[in-house]
Structure formats: C-alpha cells, structure tokens
Amino acid sequence: MSRKISYREAMREAMHEALTNDPRVFLMGEDVGRYGGTYAFSKGFLEEFGPERIRDTPLSELGFVGAGIGAALGGLRPIVEVMTVNFSLLALDQIVNSAALFRHMSGGQFSVPLVIRMCTGAGRQLAAQHSHSLEGWYAHIPGIKVLAPATIEDARGMLAPALADPDPVVIFEHCQLFNVEGELPDDWNVDISSAKVRRQGKDVALITYGGSLPKALAAAEILAAQGIDSEVLDLRVLRPLDSASIAAAVAKCRRVVVIDENWKSGGLAAEVVARIMEHAFWELDAPVARVCSEEVPVPYAKHLEEAALPQADKIVAAVRGLLGKE
C-alpha cells in the first residue's frame, strides 16, 4: 500500500513525528513559527508545539546555529533550519570549527547530536546570491554527515535516523523538489548510509543526487527512446560517500556521467570522479563526463539561468558523446 504526498508534506510529517516522539527535539530558525516556515514546512507547528519548541530566531545565522550546537551539547536534539545554504555561509565557522570538531578536540568527551536543515539550489530565478549549491563544501568536512533527500521516501525517512545519529548531520533539501508529489509506500524504509539505484540500466551510469535526480531520470527516458539504457544512481549520502555503490555502477555500465548542480570546478562531482579513478579505473570504457553548473554566478533571466544549470538535454548530449554518438 502507498499514498500520494508532496516532498514538502513528507518533510513536514517527518518533523511532526520527531517533535511528537521525543521531547528533546525542537525546531529553531528564521520564521519557522509565526510565519509558518519560509516554505510552509512547519505550518501549524507553533500552535501545536508552542513557541519554546518552535522557536523563531532573529536574523543571526552564526548565533543560532552556534546555539543549536550548544543546545545539543546540553542534552537537546535541535533541528536547526537555516533558511537556505546561501545564508549558511554566515554560520560556517560554527559548523566547521565547533560542530564538526568538538568530538575530536575533546578526545571523545563531547558529541554534537544536531541536525541542520537547509534549502539549496537554483532554478527559481532568485539570482546569484540566492542560488548556491555548496553541498560539496560540506561534504569535505570530517566530523559531519551530509544528506540529500531527493525522493518522497527520503524526505519522509531521513530525518529520524539523522536525529538518532550522535553526530552533526546536515540535510540539503533542493528548492525545486518541495512541490514534487509521489507515492510513499506504507512500508517505507530508509537508511542514511547508502546510495540507491533509482533506475536499472546497462549502457551508461548517471550518478547524481538531490535536485539533479529528476533531471537525470528525465534524461534516462529520452535516452531509452533512443535505445540507450541508463542506470541512475542517487548518492543520497554525500558524506561519507558510498564508494562501493559507485564502483558497482561503473563496473556494470563501464560508462559514467556524473551530474550535480555545483559549479563544475571543485564541486561534488569532482570527488565522485576521483573515487571512480581510484576504485574503478580499469572498468571504464571511456573517461567519466561531468554535467554541472557552468562557471558563472546564476543569472536572474530565465533563459540564462536554465543555460547555467544542468539540464536533461545536456545529460543526453554527454551520454551520446561518451558513446561516440554526437
């Protein structure tokens, strides 16, 4: 059995469940309360759980993210919502120098059981300052885990294990997924350790995550119509990366395109390519290709924004290139 819900609703249910089941859990961030959540993820929560646990914060990203870390050290299980990854730049010092390091610097005395959620990505014509995709940066930091739920099931299921995790977990929710609807099986079952194959195929492996997953799946359909059978691997967990699943996809298809919305240079795709180089070089029939964002701040104008981001047609072209079918 299953039911149809939206990504937003799935996320909202996950938070509602966490707030209901564990009194240590609380939600903190800009406009999570009276406003109802910038993206309506927490609509109605204030009335149900009260202002202590649905805590509106001032515009103080460094301060309230640091406060979330302190609250975790103090015995609570905070869900800190940073409105978007763009604003998380102001809080990076606390995330990198406190949350990620305390366990280690204290010789194992202090863990930081904190969940930080943030909206990421472009595609809504919000222009350069509001369109970053910096998951690759976060995935570089030892001491934290990084998740990217791209499906209804993951939106519904990743929060609980993230909250159960003793260490800081950063969850990236792509702004283009919020309104996506899909079937949530009643027996959904989600881990925060492995990548998942979203489409079986044999000719080429499309490795991606988050907001680029629907684009990769769309490209796979177009390619299928052209007789090219694509496997689509959803990384899901960006740190630690599931190298085994990546290697398996390479071994199976021998041709690979890595897709993400980071700028190409130094983005997460580069690490995936490096893992393939290290773990599956001899399995490759062709060099791995990357389809990422162009090296330009995301422009406002729709046609330029679309041209700056990964798209299904670019993925299709990359695959055909790999197969020598330009």
């Binding site: 009276r34 406003y35 763009n86 162009e294 330029l304």
Partner: protein, 347 residues
C-alpha cells in the same frame, strides 16, 4: 520630530496618529516629492501586477507604504554621494536617478535592464548614480558601506555613503561589526534603518532584546536619530540633520525611520504573523494620502494638480513597461560574460 539618542524610543505596533500639521515647504518642492512617492507607488503596483502575469519572476519585495523614506531621505543627498541598499530597493534606485525603464527592463530580465537581466529585482546597480546595489543578503551591505566610507576618507573625497537596511538586519553580526568600524575610524557613513517592525514574519520585539534602535546604535558612540517614516517632512528634515552631522567629518551617524510595509514581505507570504487591524491602522498613516491631505489643507495642492501628478507617474510606468516589453534577451552564447573583468575594461 527628530528624537535624540537619549530620548526613550520604545517601538510600538499600535500606529501613532497620522502625520499632520503644516508642510513647511515651497509648493514646487512639495509637489516634486509627492510626484516621486507616486512614481514609486505606481511602479510597485504595476510590478505586483506583472508578477502575477509572470513577466517578473524570482523574489519581488515591494516598497508600498514606505515611499516617504526613500523619497525624503534620498532628496537630502547629492550626486557625489554613495548609496547602498537592500533587496527592497526599487524606490531607492529610482530616487538616485536610475531611469524607470532600466529598472523595469531589469525586472523583466531583459538585456536593456541596468544589469542586462543578470541581477533582477534584488540587484539594481548603477555606477552612474553611485548605487552600489540592491543586496539579497540581509546585513550584507553594511560592511561594504564602511569600505566605501573608508575610501572616501582616505582619498579626501567629500562624499557620504548612505546605507539602507531593515530592522531585521540589526540582529546580524554584520551590523555590529560595521557600526563599530565606522565609529572607530570616524567614517562618513550614514546608517539608515528602515524599521517597518517586521523582518519577514518576525516582529522586532521577537528579534531584538532592545527594541529601541536609537539606544542600540548610540551604544557604538555615534549620533543616533529617529523619525516618523510615514511623514515625509520628518524623514527629509531628520535626514538633512543627519547628513549635516556626517558632513562635519567627525564620523558616522545612525537614523531610524519608523515605517510599515503595506504588502506581503515578498510574493510568497500568507501574512499569518500580523492582523488586519494593525495593517489597516498603519495604512491610515499612508505617506502619500496623508501628505496630500496636508498640502490640500494648506492650499498647496488641488485635486486637479494631484491627478496631473499621478497621471505623470502612471504615464512613466506605462512607458517603462512598454520599454521592457520591447526589450531583447541577452544571447545565451554570452552566458559566461562578466564573471571576470575583460582586460580592456580593467579600471
């Protein structure tokens, strides 16, 4: 009308009585400022309409209700001065002298826009009029204003930098660091806080332990003033006073304008956080109709003159829309332009 930093200045959601009293200005000047408020109002109303029609996209933050602040304040500056603004900056751009055509085309994402459609509504820039941007990072403009002030001081330029930001920005570390640096280094920067009582859905008393922003700013050892941001006379005269203070070269100043946002924060806002009564009470203090009424009471404005001014404003808006509609799209081949500065353009 201008409260000194020592005066108690607690914030009130209850709307004070509407601005009233004689307007101490010559008719021409009063009409010019009324016209500017109308230009902003009509431009913003049209923008909302165009957003609904899908012509303008992304985030759109309207200035409706706050017109007296940009108009009254920016009429106290000169062309040599610098302005740093926020994502709610259409009015500021217009007041600095940016053609409405360029603003509208930018919001359309057309090549004829001030930034060729790269920036959109939140990023209006104009080198000509020294507008150093709309900025979509709350508080992001404050450190930049400090640097602009530093450059003016080190180059002995008689140039003031006016930095606009909202009440919500006051909680950011950037506010603290910027006010301290400007006061410490005695820079010609005028910090202009547009206090509309809310940062998105968060009322100032839920964001600030000290809601008296004048007292807060004064703690950095700089002159701090406050004015009724719905009263264009109070705004302009307080701004003039603050500008004169800064021009003395003894350092920065801070001025708070108490205003109110009549529309939603952006086009995605259910306004669950404030009630109709409060909004209505503040609308009764609307900067345009109260100013109009005062002028009429003084016989400095007739209904006919008002309609003529409003018609001019609307005509300008229609022309700007036509301009934007007739505009072109930047070719996709130019996507990578202006990431770095081409050698020939090197300053």
């Amino acid at each position: 009308m201008a409260k000194k930093s020592n005066a108690a200045n607690k914030v009130e959601h209850r709307a004070p009585p509407p601005p009233s009293g004689a307007v101490p200005w010559k008719k021409d000047f009063a009409h010019a400022l009324l016209l500017d408020m109308l230009r902003i109002r009509r431009m913003e109303e049209k923008s909302a309409e165009l957003y609904g029609a899908g012509k303008i996209r992304g985030f759109l933050h309207l200035y409706i209700g706050e017109e007296a602040v940009a108009v009254g304040a920016l009429h106290a500056l000169g062309p040599e001065d610098n302005v740093v603004a926020t994502y709610r900056e259409h009015g500021h751009a217009l007041m600095r002298g940016m053609p409405m055509d360029a603003i509208m085309a930018e919001m359309y994402g057309k090549r004829e826009g001030c930034a060729r459609g790269r920036g959109g509504s939140m990023h209006l820039f104009d080198a000509q009029t020294r507008l150093f941007g709309g900025n979509a990072i709350v508080g992001g403009g404050l450190p930049l204003a400090v640097g602009l002030g530093l450059a003016a001081k080190m180059q002995n330029e008689d140039r003031l930098t006016a930095c606009f930001f909202g009440d919500g920005a006051v909680a950011e570390g950037a506010f603290h660091e910027a006010l301290n640096l400007a006061a410490l280094w005695k820079l010609p920067v005028l910090f202009c806080c547009e206090n509309n009582l809310y940062g998105m859905g968060t009322a100032i008393e839920r964001a600030e332990s000290q809601t008296d922003l004048v007292a807060k700013a004064a703690a950095y050892n700089l002159p701090a003033l406050s004015a009724d941001g719905m009263d264009i006379v109070a705004v302009h005269e307080t701004m003039q006073e603050a500008v004169a203070t800064v021009r003395q070269g003894k350092g920065p100043a801070f001025v708070e304008f108490r205003t109110y946002r009549f529309r939603a924060h952006s086009m995605f806002d259910a306004e669950l956080y404030r009630d109709k009564e409060e909004v209505e009470a503040w609308k009764a203090r609307g900067p345009i109709h109260t100013f109009t009424a005062r002028l009429k009471a003084q016989k400095k404005l007739s209904e006919k003159e008002f309609l003529a001014l409003d018609a001019r404003a609307q005509a300008e808006v229609e022309a700007a829309v036509a301009f934007a509609e007739a505009g072109s799209w930047e070719p996709v081949e130019d996507l990578l332009k202006d990431v770095l500065t081409p050698a020939e353009a090197t300053p």
